[in-house]
């Protein structure tokens, strides 16, 4: 039996690729396996070629493979577009008759997917047929597939479930007979991580758990998923989700809500964030808590709307005019995303400043089975707030340790709550004075930066000082873990907070290593430059990828074989 299997389901937009992908994940997860799945799709609603690739294993997995052991092609174009991704010894399942492909290449297997779907009620059931075929090919019973179907279509009523079940059964039975020789079965696992979470889902749950009461955004892939999930729970948790007229409105609404005393958040991708820069600066100047998720996609400009990149690190670190303290997180997994978003709200309120969370399409839209996180971690801490009993003359911007003056809430504090985007004195009124400017800059920049530095999330360091040390941030955590885990001489440093930069921790993690290199999903090695600027350490190199696709573990291993000596 193999230790793991990767399955790619591919077809055109509208064929239910994500739906069957999710069912496949559940099928494996609910039978004790670990799963990790990525989505690859085009910026269109119908047609083209998309895929969903599931990796299932007895051991935890958190990065994709380069190739799939089974490629399930739901239309003709899917065959040509994905045949190159078939692993040696793998099977590419297609519907030769339907697609008009008379000659099968080695490893290709034809199944009348579409005819079976039509028999079950129509072509739209082809994805359920595929699920059944896959259940058979990988030696799973029909039952887990059925359970996954029931779950997936729970809200859709009996008939839909019934037809999907029938389609899956047809596929299963066909494959059980005709593809007997395909033996891709996996050992049962112990699993135990029951939740199937994407980075976006986890971020949304984190926000809800943190007591966010206002989520406002302008739709933008791949950040919209956060808003979708918050909206799903809005009524239940008493949250207002407001679609803004543009990103400028979104960020200014988030700041306005923060000023008025509630936890608020916005999210976007690079292009939308570009429009928010002035608002980030506003939060800094008015010392208003602000949480922004920046879910990166490849730029510049519109770029690749549905693909992935880590190209906005530099931008986010210095976005917004003027100088001020900020915190920038970069969670490495859905689990970290949940926790870091909660933490972001605390940081934003305790230090009264903008907090940015860097994610990317890869993290946002890949699924991993996750244990229930510690729900008590990062318990809400609102920082200093003056209530109804406070000093009626309290000044909003009074100088105080850590640069943090207690917040005033309009209508809830005894003193009047004020905020000013101009340079201002302690009472919040406009000033022109040099001395006031100096002290306020020291408050917003120096004092806060110092206080923040004391609370930086330590990077995840694995085998510090190894001969080879890989460095990464954000979405690549699983990849680094697996790549370094497989090699005795390789360790890694992963930053889930990139600002303030943990310079000391970096120095001690990299100290003694012969080759330190970054692994970055971008074209210019931004993390390497940051490390150099902040620690003086010049790294040996960078593994960069900038084709809009996430790294896979195989290419990292290959690179290490070559470069890591």
């Amino acid at each position: 039996m193999r230790k793991e299997i990767s399955i790619r389901i591919t077809g055109e937009a509208g064929q239910g690729i994500v739906s069957v992908g999710n069912m496949l994940c559940r099928m494996y997860k609910d039978t004790g396996r670990h799963v990790f799945a990525i989505q690859d799709y085009m910026s269109r609603i119908r047609g083209g070629n998309n895929f969903f690739q599931v990796r299932a294993a007895a051991e935890p997995v958190a990065a994709p493979r380069a190739c799939a052991d089974i490629v399930m092609a739901l239309d003709r174009e899917a065959v040509s577009a994905n045949q190159g991704a078939l692993a040696p010894g793998g099977a590419l399942v297609l519907d030769a008759e339907e697609y008009g492909i008379p000659a099968l290449e080695p490893g290709w297997r034809s199944v009348p997917l579409h005819a079976l779907a039509r028999d079950a009620g129509g072509s739209i059931y082809v994805n359920a047929v595929a699920l059944g075929v896959l259940a058979a090919m990988t030696g799973e019973g029909l039952e887990p597939a059925g359970a996954a179907i029931a779950k997936e279509f729970a809200g859709k009523g009996r008939e839909v479930i019934g037809k999907n079940l029938a389609a899956a059964r047809a596929g299963f039975e066909h494959a059980a007979k005709q593809l007997k020789d395909c033996a891709y079965s996996l050992p049962k696992g112990t699993g135990g991580a029951p939740y199937l979470l994407s980075g976006n889902d986890a971020a949304a749950l984190g926000a809800i758990a943190a007591g966010c009461k206002f989520y406002t955004a302008y739709p933008m892939s791949p950040a919209t998923g956060i808003m979708n999930t918050v909206a799903d729970y809005a009524a239940r948790y008493g949250i207002i989700v407001e679609q803004a007229e543009d990103e400028i409105a979104a960020v200014n609404m988030a700041v306005g809500a923060g000023f008025a005393g509630i936890r608020a958040m916005t999210g976007t991708s690079g292009g939308g964030f570009a429009l928010m820069c002035e608002g980030v600066s506003l939060a800094a100047m008015t010392e208003t808590p602000l949480v922004v998720a920046v879910v990166m996609r490849p730029g510049p400009a519109t770029g690749f709307p549905t693909r992935t990149e880590q190209g906005d690190l530099d931008f986010v670190l210095s976005a917004g005019h003027g100088e001020f303290a900020r915190a920038v997180y970069a969670p490495g997994s859905p689990e970290e995303a949940f926790r870091v978003v909660k933490r972001a709200f605390n940081t934003a309120e305790k230090h009264q400043l903008p907090v940015l969370i860097l994610s990317d399409q890869y993290l946002a839209e890949s699924y991993v089975n996750t244990a229930r996180p510690d729900l008590q971690a990062e318990a809400p801490d609102r920082g200093l707030l003056l209530g109804a009993e406070s000093d009626p003359e309290a000044e909003r911007y009074a100088h105080a340790p850590g640069g943090v003056s207690p917040r005033l809430i309009p209508g809830r504090s005894r003193a009047l709550a004020v905020a000013d985007s101009d340079e201002h004195g302690t009472a919040g009124h406009i000033t022109e004075l040099a001395e006031v400017r100096i002290r306020m800059t020291q408050k917003r920049l120096h004092a806060k930066a110092e206080a923040l530095a004391g609370e930086v999330l330590a990077p995840t360091v694995y085998k510090p000082g190894s001969r080879v040390m890989l460095c990464g941030f954000g979405s690549t955590l699983g990849l680094l873990r697996e790549a370094a885990g497989a090699r005795a001489d390789t360790g890694f440093v992963h930053y889930s907070q990139v600002w303030p930069f943990p310079a000391e921790a970096t120095r001690s993690a990299l100290g003694g290593s012969e080759k330190a290199a970054t692994v970055e999903n971008n074209a210019s090695g931004q993390l390497a430059r940051l490390i150099r600027r902040e620690t003086g350490i010049g790294l040996a190199g960078s593994l960069l990828k900038y084709d809009g696709r996430p790294f896979n573990i195989d290419e990292v291993s290959a690179w290490l074989d070559k470069e890591g000596r």
Partner: protein, 284 residues
Amino acid sequence: MSGSKDFHSADPVTWCPGCGNFGIQAALQSALTELGRDPRDILLVSGIGQAAKMPHYVRANFFNGLHGRALPAAAAAKIANRGLTVIVTTGDGDCYGEGGNHFLHNIRRNLDMTVIVYDNQIYGLTKGQASPTSAPGLKTRIQPAGVILEPFRPLAVALALDCGFVARGYAADKEHLAGLILAGMRHKGFALIDTLQPCVSFNKVNTYAWYSKRIYKLGPEHDPADRAAAMIKAEEWGDRIPTGIIYEKVRPSYEDLSGLEDIPPLVDAPVGGIDIAPAFEDFR
């Protein structure tokens, strides 16, 4: 002091002597006094410009945000705490220029807030460039041959979007203006009060003298419920310029429709102790 119902601010005013804004300031203070709420329940929100300095000069809570962005900040503050009386003090550049998109969409949003646009038909604070409402032909340093764009028509646009309260005030008629502001605050929904405001430093066309010849008050013959009549009044400009409530209609507010009104103000919702566990179960 705080807690008293005095809306007098101690912050020194930086407007030019004779600026129309002084009249608006007085009108706003008197409307607030008349309203009778505690300054702690009032929130003034502004962007940047001469008009937008107003929150410093009227004692209440205030959020003096970015140029053009008063409305989104105000909208969210109102969503956060629907108990606040939210008043936006903004300029013609702030609200119709840089902030034009928020103007459109916040009329649609229809939160309960009063928006006073100090319409001096000029960019005052930045030294006299054309604003969206500047008269064609107005000469400025940037437009030496005179403005060539058609003026923005705030009242007509608001009406086109079926804004529930559309009024025009005049800075020099404080009493009348105070009445409009009070009516705006009492209107449940987005209330627009475009207020003609002489800028003595840069607008040499629309002066006090120019206005005094033209301004008149809408009398009882004008029915603010009559949308067609309102449209005519909204567009009246030139020899005769009407002031008063041009249109009023009660529309369901955002607070009603969003369900905000059915729950305590968001600002009072506890932040801690949220049970997220049941939501996780949906991700099994």
